[in-house]
Symmetry: C2
Subunit: 207 residues, 2 copies
């Protein structure tokens, strides 16, 4: 079922699709505020379960692929240095990002701005400091540090309605052709990869 | 067997590994002269058979992948427009690029500058005008338009020594960790993708 209010909220916005397990999505996440400021567009954050999309395309997690994985580890560090953001490879990758993604959607329905703040904090914990954010307890700990009611959040993660929201968002993303992360849609135009952010910005500013 | 002269020629150069079948390598090829000028480094062109490398990593040609292929077609056109270079999708992709790659190495041993000129012309024919450059006759026709002895080139393509050169160059590339195209090595630092050229340049200029 469509939500007309949500559709309207999307109009003109930069839809930022990501999986909390994606290191390149972390890099992109650090650029969203600047992008919004320079382009005058809002950014709508949309965590999803990328594994579902990757099954459809036959893709594997980059860091697990022979040769490519080693390169990606090197590229990520270098890319982060160019962006001037911290980067630390987490102990295991990719995590199963159900808890962080559900926590985001639980909070979004209550306080959209706070949900983005939580998403940024989760990304920085995972890839800026190399912490494992798969356990719900870890997500709750980070939420608590932002003044979020962590007991309510833990209950929210287990709420069938929230589980359904994440499933619906993931299906919706796939339905729009999202097959990787980070992935951006703006005015229907698709951009895949942190490395396409300069293209996105140029496309918006130069038409 | 190492060739000491060739090893010396590589020192300090930007090694540009590519497959003539790769559309993103075409985009990169249009940027090599500007890159060399701005960084003061020579560019050494190194065609290879990417299929051999992709078998090792389990990767598939991007344009053949579900969802990703459609996106790539769109991204390529947009990327080319940003670079200000022509782009036309060839009738079939990916081609088997044996003839263009062997023609390059045959000519390189005779006139390195002319070989680069031929490589540029082959890329522009394939992805700038959408022509099929798999047939040796087509490669010869393009060579002839550049004043190259096309009969000698056609014989060169069939020369076992040239076939061996391409095989050796491909194995050498894989041995250095090249798994995709375009791929760059400079002072041992690896960069994968046309989208990493700004990183390569920054890495060289800012250290």
């Amino acid at each position: 079922m469509q939500n007309p209010q949500r559709e309207t909220a999307e109009e003109g916005a930069i839809l930022f699709y990501f999986d909390f397990a994606s290191p390149y999505a972390y890099l992109a996440s650090t650029q969203m505020d600047g992008l919004a400021e320079r382009t005058g567009r809002r950014v709508v954050w949309r965590p999803m379960m990328l594994g579902a999309a990757m099954k459809l395309t036959g893709a594997q997690p980059l860091v697990l692929m022979p040769m490519r994985g080693d390169y990606a580890r090197h590229d990520l560090k270098r890319f982060a240095a160019f962006l001037g953001v911290p980067f630390e490879m987490p102990p295991r990758m990719p995590i199963r990002s159900l808890a962080p993604a559900r926590a985001f959607y639980w909070l979004r329905d209550r306080d959209g701005g706070k949900a983005v703040e939580l998403a940024k904090a989760l990304f920085v914990a995972h890839f800026g400091r190399g912490e494992d954010i798969e356990p719900a307890a870890k997500v709750a700990e980070i939420a608590r540090s932002l003044g979020i009611d962590d007991a309510a959040l833990l209950a929210g993660i287990e709420d069938p309605a929230i589980k359904e929201t994440l499933k619906r968002e993931t299906d919706g993303a796939i339905g729009r052709g999202v097959f990787g992360a980070p992935f951006f849609l703006v005015d229907g135009e698709p951009f895949w990869g942190a490395d396409r952010l300069p293209h996105l910005e140029r496309w918006l500013l130069e038409g």
